[in-house]
Symmetry: C2
Subunit: 441 residues, 2 copies
């Protein structure tokens, strides 16, 4: 019955494409319908969370053989998601050298280069000939090496000297030595480099794999493109969720426990609510003005939301540009000047539309009173000020946050909107008292 | 002087890491400081936009030799960013077979599989032995094949039969035929598949390259992981910018012409402003109520912004989950039920905080009048309604947009906030008239 969900197509491709859309129970049923070979194929190709789900349902007697299917970095990922007790039990299924390797990998944080890398890679010595190297690689490829598309040339202290692609090996004369054909201008990542910086390195280059080294250039492992794709997706998801005004969920929407999700959303929502309370405080200062000129109250949502919207735009732009490395801390002044002009132009556009809206509205005089022109002027001028302020605040906040060591993405659209709402009210009533003092106020 | 920006380090790695952070003029100066070999290295590793920048500054006499450095898919990318006249001129620098290939590649949209793929890949015939295959690949690798890490097995009509990784070739007995060792359960992408779907296929699997085929399984080219990384970054940037309430810029923040950027931001800002004008219209309906009970006006920004914030959260979550394929159109009911519970809980939390805030505020009686408890009740109950409404509207809008064939990311945080502002006012004043009719109103 459940296979209807997959149109009765149990090919690996179809399973992988739809796996995350299925419920836990559906996944379990389908997995049981597969033959052992297909089960293994599926298991090997799934992301680590889904591997864990399958692994935990396996009979204890089978766990050993399934675990041994995986490469050490994948085993480390699998174990990382278990509790300590479970880790210990499962660690016992590994042979001794693999266990040592897995433990070493687990010592890195999951989002550092060390935590993403695979410690089995193809090594060559600089003094080998091309012929020897090909023979040697052929022997190495029998053990579980994730990629032999690049071979790394190390000295006897494991210091990285160069890299040779298989393509270059194929092209080269069989008799010359590796040191003559290896590339020595190598792009590396440091073992404690974080995800964001690694994915930047990957997207700036066109390599399928990057070597991971320590401070003394000793080679520790490799990271391949597919690991990075997962990381980039995760990073973008985190940023998007923060921009939307919540803690990053860290789990797929339909998978996460409802209570956990509510907790993660409630935190920010409460913080924003408490921030927004200052609007009530600000408003109570102007209670007298509102009582005298109720017409002013009518435009409050309009003017303050415009500040919020322009602030959202600016902050979102800058957060993303920072994440992509397009904008750095030292660029704050260039950004400030651009946003000053952008904010001023956008403010004037909205101010003009606001003015026209009030002056051309049918029976504006009955609605907005005899001083409708002064009201229009108030709304229009405050719009210029508020949009300019929203734009500048929204664009500068990510710089401030990064400067003090926080994640710029925390400066979410709702956060900026809240900030601008409170100050927007002050701008609005200040402009109003300028134009309407002695007339309406 | 400009090299200070790079700490006097002109290594390829440092250049690539900082290239996009430099100004146009700085890039030009630095490029001229490099030797020809380093220039070529840099050129080959840059993204297509920056390649074009360099290419256009080259003396006409040198263009031919630089163009010929590039693989056909990279040439196609380069030409795609030129105007028609320039394309024609530069096309003449290519040899005939390359020109034919480049033209074929350019016929695909840039964001389809066909537009991303490279048409030079390693081909094998099923009847070859492993030994013949290795010799044959070695010969093929002398032409510009982007990846020989997988070899694709085609029949005489170019139909894709299977795939063999180099690793498997190395492992296999030299005498058996390719058809015996090739994998026939192949993950492919269709030539007209779009970026989003391709990147999903990539992140669901662990392949370094995917074959591109037409409807009859004729192989057209390959896509490698590094192409996909660029695409994923671009897709995420577009979504983030839309969520922030603007048109996707399509260019790096510091590169884009200021006027173009203002235009792209003004469009949405104006649309939102016009939408938000309905708040003024709604408010004018309640002018009488506000005049009678000015205290009600004080809480307007607080209550409506809470709806906007909860709506932003919900819409951002669902847009991202859809982009990642975690949530599909058919899941709308599951999402609705989750969001109903989430919205109700979040509304109750904020309602409670709002109630406490009003009741415990120093001199609440002077500020909010003798009926302060009823005012607190009004604020609190409207918060529950507005947060629930914001959450449901925010989560269902992306489904609606996708259903009618629009991009769900259009349902940006500011868009939802605007929608919820107007309806939020109506909810607030309706609740107020329920509790305060005959007392304050």
């Amino acid at each position: 019955m459940e296979t209807n969900l997959l149109n009765d197509d149990l090919s690996l491709e179809n399973l992988l494409a739809h796996w995350q859309g299925l419920t836990h129970a559906e996944r379990e049923t389908i997995f049981k319908m597969l033959g052992r070979m297909d089960q293994e194929d599926l298991f090997l190709n799934l992301a680590s969370d889904y591997q864990l789900e399958i692994f935990q349902e396996l009979p204890a007697a089978e766990k050993r053989s399934w675990m041994r299917l995986l490469a050490p970095d994948d085993i480390a990922d699998l174990l990382q998601n278990m509790d300590e007790e479970e880790q210990k039990t499962n660690m016992r299924y590994l042979d001794y050298p693999t266990m040592i390797e897995v433990k070493a990998l687990m010592a890195y944080a999951e989002d550092e280069a060390g935590g993403l890398m695979n410690s089995r890679f193809a090594r060559l010595r600089p003094e080998m000939t091309v012929e020897e190297a090909i023979r040697y690689l052929r022997a190495q490829s029998k053990s579980q090496i994730e990629t032999i598309y690049y071979a790394y040339v190390l000295d006897r202290h494991q210091v990285l000297l160069g890299v040779v692609s298989l393509r270059e090996l194929f092209l080269a004369d069989a008799k010359i030595t590796i040191s003559e054909i290896m590339n020595t201008d190598i792009v590396t990542v440091l073992q404690d480099e974080d995800q964001e910086s690694i994915s930047k390195t990957f997207s700036n280059h066109n390599f399928l794999a990057l070597p991971v080294v320590d401070e003394t250039n000793v080679m520790k492992g490799i990271i391949t493109g597919d690991d990075v794709i997962e990381v980039i997706e995760e990073e973008a998801t985190e940023d998007i969720q923060k921009i939307g005004g919540m803690e990053a969920l860290g789990e797929p929407y339909l998978e996460i426990d409802l209570l956990t999700m509510i907790k993660k959303r409630a935190g920010w929502l409460m913080a924003l609510f408490i921030g927004e309370m200052f609007t009530a405080t600000a408003m109570s200062h102007y209670e007298g003005e509102i009582a005298k000129a109720v017409v002013l109250a009518l435009f409050i949502p309009l003017v303050i939301s415009s500040g919020g919207n322009s602030g959202s735009q600016a902050t979102t732009l800058i957060i993303r540009a920072m994440a992509l490395g397009e904008v750095r801390l030292k660029d704050w002044w260039r950004v400030f000047s651009r946003e000053l002009l952008a904010g001023l132009s956008l403010g004037c556009i909205l101010g003009l539309i606001g003015m026209i809206r009030i002056l051309l509205w049918p029976n504006h005089q009955t609605l907005y009173g005899e001083h409708y022109f002064l009201v229009a002027l108030t709304v229009s001028c405050s719009l210029i000020g508020i949009v300019l302020w929203g734009t500048l605040a929204g664009s500068m906040l990510p710089f401030f946050l990064r400067r003090v060591g926080l994640d710029p993405a925390t400066s979410s659209a709702p956060f900026v909107a809240t900030l601008v709402d409170v100050t927007g009210l002050i701008i609005y009533f200040t402009v109003a008292s300028l134009f309407l003092k002695g007339i309406l106020l």
